[in-house]
């Protein structure tokens, strides 16, 4: 076994500055051109040095590769060459004039000089003009030390500015400091257009423009608005692209330039962007997207780029706390006492109520290693399988559905595959809000001409946004997913659009025949399902034809698919449709779940579900069980344990009494809040391990302070199965690694668990899990990231799955009968509420609400169609009461045509909104994933908060008091 001695590897942590070769690679950033094959090479000579580069490479890039840096201002490797600054001129033998090296491509035999006396003179003249209209406050400028204009002035040897500074200029333009994270100082702008191009090419928002012409040219946001009021989504691409101090992070203005950097992985969504955490000593200055990041290719969103302030927020708890009951004050204690108390209480509960009376929940926000030790702790130390993970409430149907049909519980493609898709189908997902960096790649492909089908009850941004318009928006009623996927598949069979050769070669024919007979039934036709779906049959048929005849059809889906009573059926329906049309097993196609949390995939991979061990192997599989029993030296229970909702039900029944919660906030995130409150209140020992005293901690008896992602070593696995390193940037604020907390708890419970470093945990995972064989920290350091399966030491991972055959052998067509949800509109609850997210907040908001991002979304609102609002006397901005069979809450109305009549929509980022007071205990039949996306409700104007909200405020105030008194003593 190859052991990685991470502590010896200084390079594992610290990295140098990013090199910028000025223009993108000829075969491109794979995200930009779909990873086309290698181009033939061209031989050139630059400053006397011969070099061979791929055809299509710019002279500037070739020069950089040959070790010569051509001066430039408007060029950067992240953006297409633009040729406006006139600084990168070069001399090419046999050619007249001095062409711009960024827009000139290499040719065979070309001889280039990057520096001659004439070039030096030309460049100095250009710089002289720039500097004649630029403030000369370099010493006190925030970009001092990281200013390309300053560098270029130095590089070209600018010594005088002959024009003086008295003429017309832009130096008096006021700063725009309205955006929370960066400032815009137009006085320092050189109009290189890098920001405008970054907004277009990288982000795809088109919020920035060059206004005016010639000397009047200026960068403006939207219609010359303040940044905060503009369409800007604060992704930070313009800030990264800016060569001067015009667009700069406020953190750099406040703190100064960073002096070192550590490459790590974002802890927000399932895209899993790679970032450079740029530091001064142990102080984080800024997070900059890593150009070599394999998931994000140098792009970012507002959360990963800027919303990290929560890590050092004053609300962070850094001392373990204990109390006897939730009416008691919290008492700060040392780690030893906290661990001992937790172990004693859990053991006492087991002694009194039985082995199965306790359990644990792993977090999709934590690392693979942290998750792995929690499920090991429950199975080995608690001696039962009562372990589950928050994927239960998001993507558990993905695991079930894809395992059943394709044989593996994961998406089939890498993100870059989207650049080869001809038609993109987005079902129940809102990538521009929830997976913004991947959405930018998707929008790039759509701008290149790919077709788009959106299946969503709501007009999400992708339906129509700058240079993107859906060919079909199947605006179905909430709850009709399976009806519509069946109608699409029915059309494929009915109209002879199936890929017979693919089906015959790749799929289980017996199952296919059964499915074919089922799907051909008239009840599944677009005509028969139109009433249930609300979508005209002709539109469904047209969409089916577009997808089936696409060439490469790629399906992306999100929680709008899984969080339904038929979530698992819908996932299987999607897989059936992809198999029937041959859209699997090559670039540009596939079935792609967009995972919510950074490590949902990893938490599931690590054996967090109560019925299976790491690598999705069922407990009843004896050889797997034996393998784990031998490694762990303990006998395992063969019976599946409780899922999260089963734990709550059992708690209310009085049979489940102790819970160890790793970084999850059920009391806000799980449906039917009052049921959750009752369940948590019924337990005798709730242990919460988290950053903050969150909603669930109000019901806790022991609080173990966890670490932010900046304080950990470990790995996250993103939605494309990519295992990426998380590196410790600062030491744990509470003085204890999270994996170590669990190990100590286990040891105190009587099951010894000891590791010197998380790399040893990964080594154990790799020993026990076939899809992780050969994964090690050393290999991650070498490759940057690895997409599992990584089946042996030599494998560099698997970007595309099911290439030659499906993981289960033959693809399985599962019949998918449409069973309408029991949660339907009636006279008492005539409207259907569905829920979602916004870009600037993240899930329960525990992190993002503790950052300046609140400037973008300070409260959850209720979207309601004007027709529904009018008949109820509800006006935009007024308070609306919302009642379901589960509960009642009050939200502020946003009257909008984004939702259909009869449909309401809200987000759940703020606990006092009580969105989950409304949602019910109805769940997916196969996995108990809650049906967050459909709740029958009534809405009516009100003037005060709901009873629940009043109770919530009182309870919150009491709990705050109980913690404040304790914490003031720390």
């Amino acid at each position: 076994m190859k052991r990685c001695k991470v502590r010896d590897m200084n390079l594992y942590y610290r990295v140098g500055a990013e090199r910028d070769l000025g223009t993108p690679a000829a075969n491109g950033n794979p995200a930009a051109n779909g990873g086309a094959g290698a181009a033939p090479t061209v031989n050139v000579r630059i400053d006397g040095r011969p070099i061979a580069v791929p055809e299509g490479t710019s002279v500037m890039r070739a020069a950089g590769l040959a070790g010569a840096s051509v001066p430039r201002l408007c060029a950067t490797e992240d953006l297409a060459a633009f040729g406006s600054c006139r600084l990168c001129l070069v001399a090419i033998e046999g050619r007249k004039g001095y062409p711009a090296s960024c827009t000139t491509l290499v040719e065979e035999g070309m001889v280039v000089h990057t520096q001659t006396p004439r070039l030096a003179e030309l460049r100095r003249n250009v710089m002289e003009l720039y500097i004649s209209d630029h403030p000369l406050d370099c010493l006190t400028c925030a970009a001092n030390g990281d200013c390309e204009l300053q560098d270029m002035a130095g590089a070209v040897g600018l010594r005088t500015v002959r024009y003086g500074y008295d003429g017309a200029h832009h130096l008096d333009k006021p700063k725009d400091e309205s955006a929370p994270y960066f400032s815009f100082d137009p006085a320092k702008c050189i109009v290189c257009s890098r920001c405008v191009r970054a907004c277009e090419e990288q982000q795809g928002t088109y919020a920035l423009t060059i206004n005016g012409r010639g000397f009047e040219s200026e960068v403006i946001a939207s219609q010359n608005e303040a940044f905060i009021d503009s369409e800007c989504v604060s992704c930070g691409a313009c800030v990264k692209a800016c060569p001067t101090a015009t667009l700069i992070e406020k953190s750099v203005i406040e703190q100064g330039q960073p002096e070192s950097a550590v490459v790590t992985t974002c802890a927000y969504c399932g895209v899993g962007c790679s970032f450079r955490a740029e530091m001064q000593g142990d102080q984080l200055v800024r997070m900059v997207p890593n150009r070599d990041g394999h998931a994000n290719h140098g792009h970012s969103c507002v959360k990963g780029r800027f919303a990290f302030g929560y890590a050092t927020h004053g609300d962070r708890i850094t001392t373990p706390l204990v109390r006897n009951s939730i009416e008691d004050e919290w008492r700060p204690v040392g780690w030893d006492e906290a661990i001992r108390t937790a172990a004693e209480r859990l053991k006492a509960i087991q002694a009194r109520y039985g082995r199965k009376s306790i359990g644990g929940v792993t977090s999709s926000r934590c690392t693979n290693e942290e998750v792995y030790v929690v499920q090991k702790f429950i199975r080995a130390a608690a001696g039962n399988n009562n372990v589950d993970t928050c994927a239960r409430v998001c993507h558990s149907p993905t695991g079930y559905g894809l395992k059943t049909t394709l044989g593996e519980s994961s998406g089939t493609q890498n993100f870059d595959s989207v650049m080869q898709a001809d038609v993109i189908v987005v079902i129940g997902a809102n990538p521009t809000e929830a997976h913004p960096v991947f959405a930018s790649a998707m929008k790039r492909r759509l701008r290149q001409g790919a077709g788009l089908i959106v299946v969503d009850p709501r007009a999400i941004d992708l339906v129509q946004s700058p240079h993107v318009r859906a060919d079909h928006h199947l605006q179905l009623k909430p709850g009709a997913n399976v009806a519509i996927i069946n109608a699409l598949a029915h059309t494929v069979i009915d109209e002879g659009l199936e890929d017979e050769a693919f089906i015959r070669a790749r799929c289980d024919m017996a199952a296919y025949r059964i499915w074919r007979a089922f799907i051909s039934e008239a009840r599944n036709s677009p005509e028969a399902t139109a009433e249930a779906t609300g979508v005209p049959a002709a539109q469904v048929r047209a969409a089916a034809r577009l997808y089936a005849q696409a060439g490469n059809g790629a399906i992306y889906y999100g929680l709008g698919v899984t969080e339904h009573s038929q979530g698992s059926t819908m996932v299987m329906g999607i897989a059936n449709l992809a198999m029937a049309t041959g859209n699997l097993g090559r670039p540009g196609v596939g079935v792609n779940p967009l995972r919510g949390q950074n490590n949902v995939q990893g938490a599931c991979d690590m054996g967090s579900f109560p019925h299976e061990l790491a690598g999705y192997r069922h407990l009843s599989d004896e050889s797997t069980r034996r393998l784990f029993e031998a490694e762990w030296q303990v006998a395992l229970d063969v019976e599946p344990g409780y899922r999260i909702p089963n734990m709550f039900d059992a708690a209310i029944d009085g049979e489940f009494k102790g819970l160890y919660v790793q970084g999850e906030d059920f009391a806000q995130s799980d449906p039917d809040t009052q049921h959750v409150y009752a369940a948590l209140s019924a337990m005798e020992c709730v242990i919460v391990q988290d950053l903050f005293l969150n909603e669930t901690a109000k019901f806790a008896h022991i609080f173990l302070p966890g670490c932010s992602f900046l304080e950990k070593d470990g790995t996250f696995t993103n939605a494309e199965r990519r295992i990426s390193p998380v590196r410790k940037v600062i030491d744990p604020l509470a003085g204890m690694d999270e994996w170590d907390i669990t190990c100590r708890l286990s040891t105190a419970m009587g099951y010894q668990m000891h590791y010197a470093h998380p790399s040893e945990i990964m080594d154990e995972i790799a020993r026990l899990t076939p899809t992780f064989r050969g994964v090690s920290y050393a290999k991650l350091a070498e490759l940057g990231s690895i997409q599992w399966p990584c089946r042996d030491e030599a494998s560099a991972g698997t970007p595309l799955m099911h290439v030659d055959q499906f993981v289960r052998g033959k693809g399985y067509f599962a019949p998918t009968p449409y069973v309408p949800t029991e949660e339907r509109a009636n006279a008492r609850y005539p409207l259907l509420l569905t829920t979602g997210r916004v870009l600037s907040q993240y899930n329960v908001g525990a992190q993002t609400r503790r950052t300046d991002t609140v400037a973008y979304h300070s409260e959850d609102q209720l979207e309601i169609h004007p027709a529904d609002a009018e008949v109820r006397g509800i006006v935009d901005g007024s308070w609306v009461g919302l009642k379901s069979r589960a509960g009642e809450t009050v939200l502020r109305a946003a009257v909008t045509e984004r939702v259909l009549p009869g449909v309401l929509y809200t987000t759940f980022h703020h606990p006092e909104s009580g969105a989950n007071v409304i949602t019910t205990d109805n769940s997916d039949w196969a996995t108990n994933c809650p049906e967050y996306k459909v709740t029958a409700v009534q809405a009516y104007p009100v003037s005060k908060p709901s009873q629940w909200q009043e109770m919530f405020r009182r309870f919150t105030a009491t709990q705050q008091q109980l913690s404040e008194q304790a914490l003031s003593e720390v």
């Binding site: 399988n385 089922f518 089963n646 019949p815 009968p817 069973v819 196969a926």
Partner: protein
């Protein structure tokens, strides 16, 4: 045991409805039983068996047939 039996029956019937793509009751019942054995913890399965023994009328024919197989497969006592 004070299990919320209405909820348990509802969840089990949802499984039966989603696996019932054919009228072949024994086939569907076998799949339902397999699903319950693989994914439901024993306490919940026991509770379902108890309901089947005491108040069989509350269960659909498919679910009744599935519970019979459940007992057969897992070899657990009915009460």
């Amino acid at each position: 045991m004070t299990v919320d039996s209405a909820k348990l029956v509802r969840m089990a019937e949802q499984i039966a409805a989603n696996l019932a793509y054919t009228d072949d009751v024994p086939l569907v019942a076998a799949r339902v039983a397999d699903h319950l054995n693989r994914f439901w913890d024993p306490r919940m399965r026991h509770a379902l068996v108890e309901i089947a023994n005491g108040e069989a009328d509350r269960l659909s024919p498919v679910l009744k047939a599935a519970v019979a197989r459940l007992r057969g497969i897992i070899g657990e006592p009915a009460a």
